[in-house]
């Protein structure tokens, strides 16, 4: 008989976010990949504070709304933007007003830092970047000589491991063993491997085991990495989720315009978060 291990992982949305302490470092996915918006709204409702976000490697709506709601003290990202809808207004305002610390990065540097954690090693080398002003403001990054160099003077950048407290994302489904279907969104596996704990919301739980079949096993993030699962219908809304639903463009447009002013942003929270 199979164990029903998802039972040990399933929890309410409220209990799930209660695990995430103020001051935690949280890695979040890019806007096109399984963004946990319902978890984000629950974090705002529980008045989370001083969260340190790591975008893997860029973010948009999720970070903007958390920053606007006063939940964030620091963000490391390669970019923060609402895409076609323009700059992320609450992020932009917070940078100007010196309300949050920003660690500017570049996409593969964040991947490399997470990959170092995934391997349990202290740093990862990466090409490029030397000569960019990003490096000027990153005292935690170091230039080294390539120890295997064939030519003289081959400088290369070393990036420290990024080891977040939590990874959070929203997926189409979990199976009865607590394995999560992530399809080809492998950055979610990277985030989860690198983080100490992973909390996931899913559209549904299916009475199947992804690992029973080789064709579905490759789509799974095994429950080994998962510390809590909650069920949320349309948990990525107003962003889209894989083939299940598209982004709600009208709502995103509304957000982009309401978030331009602090008072309209508060009204947005009243209407869509504190309900």
């Amino acid at each position: 008989m199979k164990s029903l291990s998802i039972k040990n992982l399933l929890t309410s949305l409220q209990n799930l976010v209660a695990n995430i302490e103020d001051g935690s470092q949280i890695v979040i996915p890019p806007d096109y990949s399984f963004v946990p918006m319902e978890i984000t709204r629950a974090l705002i409702r529980k008045k989370a504070r001083d969260l340190r976000l790591v975008a893997a490697p860029q973010t948009g709506l999720q970070a903007d709304i958390l920053i606007g709601a006063g939940c964030v003290s620091e963000i490391e990202a390669a970019a923060v933007s609402l895409g076609e809808l323009g700059n992320a207004p609450r992020f932009t305002e917070a940078i100007k007003a010196k309300k949050i610390e920003l660690k500017d990065s570049t996409c593969p540097a964040i991947h490399a830092g997470l990959q170092a954690s995934e391997k349990g090693i202290p740093f990862m080398p990466l090409r490029g970047i030397i000569g960019s002003d990003i490096l000027k403001y990153r005292n935690d990054w170091k230039i080294s000589e390539n120890p295997f160099k064939k030519i003289s003077n081959d400088s290369i950048l070393l990036l420290p491991a990024i080891h977040p407290d939590y990874a959070i994302f929203h997926a189409p489904y979990a199976d009865r063993e607590g394995n999560i279907w992530i399809g080809r969104r492998r950055e979610l596996a990277l985030m989860s491997h690198a983080a100490k704990k992973t909390y996931v919301s899913v559209e549904e739980v299916r009475d199947t085991n992804l690992l029973d079949n080789e064709e579905t096993a490759a789509n799974a993030l095994p429950s080994l990495y998962i510390n809590g699962i909650t069920i949320c219908k349309k948990g990525s809304w107003p962003l889209g989720l894989s083939d299940l639903y598209d982004a709600d463009r009208n709502h995103l447009q509304k957000y982009a315009s309401q978030a331009r002013s602090k008072s309209d942003f508060s009204k947005y929270l009243e209407s869509y978060v504190f309900v």
């Binding site: 990202a77 390669a78 920003l102 991947h111 090409r127 490029g128 030397i130 403001y137 290369i156």
Partner: protein, 246 residues
């Protein structure tokens, strides 16, 4: 949308697409609808060559190894061309995607550097694309170097700038002279309008050609399959600039 706006969009897509012929793999990053359409046009005319990867697309993207695959692919030399924009671009081909003013609490904050600080070094043909061609965007010196046009000799750099395409003209990057030279003028532009609207110095050769206009076949493709494909990722662009609805 105006007729002239659509004509300019068609022209820019065509100009960029002609730079992509004979390549194996072209990748297109964030906020790049015209480069995306250009890559699809080159691929459409080349019967599937170059292969195209558009980030954020489900249909024009064969990556299966997550967000890092683009960079891993580029680091190995498996991507031949990529595009960078920027709030500011200067005469040394430096791009600024971070902001205007003093870092970090800048007067104007842009989204951030994305993958530029890496891809500019490892992709052989980086085409800089910035539609707004004014002395505000094409500046003498950028306020923040997201990714530099030039690097010290001992730094590994198989890649770098190839050209700069704007709504007014095409500049080519001169590898030997390490600066831009004016290559072609779009309709309605003159040597004077370019000089007046460019904040950095560049070489002005004796012969500056007119930018070649799109053919009927190119226009047909742009408003057909390519418009529909680009609308998947850039619905607002497709409807406002190409009159294609998703």
């Amino acid at each position: 949308m105006s007729e002239s706006n659509i004509k300019l969009t068609e022209l820019l897509i065509t100009v960029v697409s002609r730079m992509l012929r004979d390549l194996n793999h072209v990748a297109v990053g964030a906020s790049s609808p015209i480069p995306g359409a250009a890559a699809l046009l080159a691929s459409g005319l080349g019967k599937g060559s170059p292969k195209v990867t558009i980030l954020g697309s489900k249909s024009v993207n064969s990556f299966t190894d997550g967000g890092k695959e683009l960079f891993d692919c580029a680091g190995q030399g498996r991507i031949d061309a990529f595009f960078l924009g920027g709030g500011q671009i200067d005469g040394d081909a430096n791009v600024n995607l971070v902001g205007i003013g003093d870092y970090p609490h800048m007067d104007v904050r842009f989204p951030g550097s994305y993958g530029s600080a890496y891809l500019y070094y490892v992709v052989p043909k980086v085409i800089l694309f910035r539609e707004e061609h004014t002395s505000r965007t094409l500046v003498q010196k950028v306020d923040f170097i997201s990714a530099p046009g030039k690097t010290e000799k001992n730094i590994y750099r198989p890649g770098g700038p190839h050209s700069l395409v704007t709504s007014r003209c095409v500049f080519m990057w001169e590898k030997k002279a390490q600066c831009f030279s004016l290559h072609s003028l779009h309709p309605g532009e003159t040597l004077q309008t370019i000089r007046k609207n460019t904040g950095f110095d560049y070489i002005e050769p004796k012969k500056v050609i007119n930018t070649l206009e799109p053919t009927e076949q190119e226009k047909k493709l742009i408003h057909g399959d390519i418009g529909k494909m680009i609308a998947e990722v850039y619905p607002s662009f497709a409807s406002s600039r190409l009159a294609v609805d998703s």
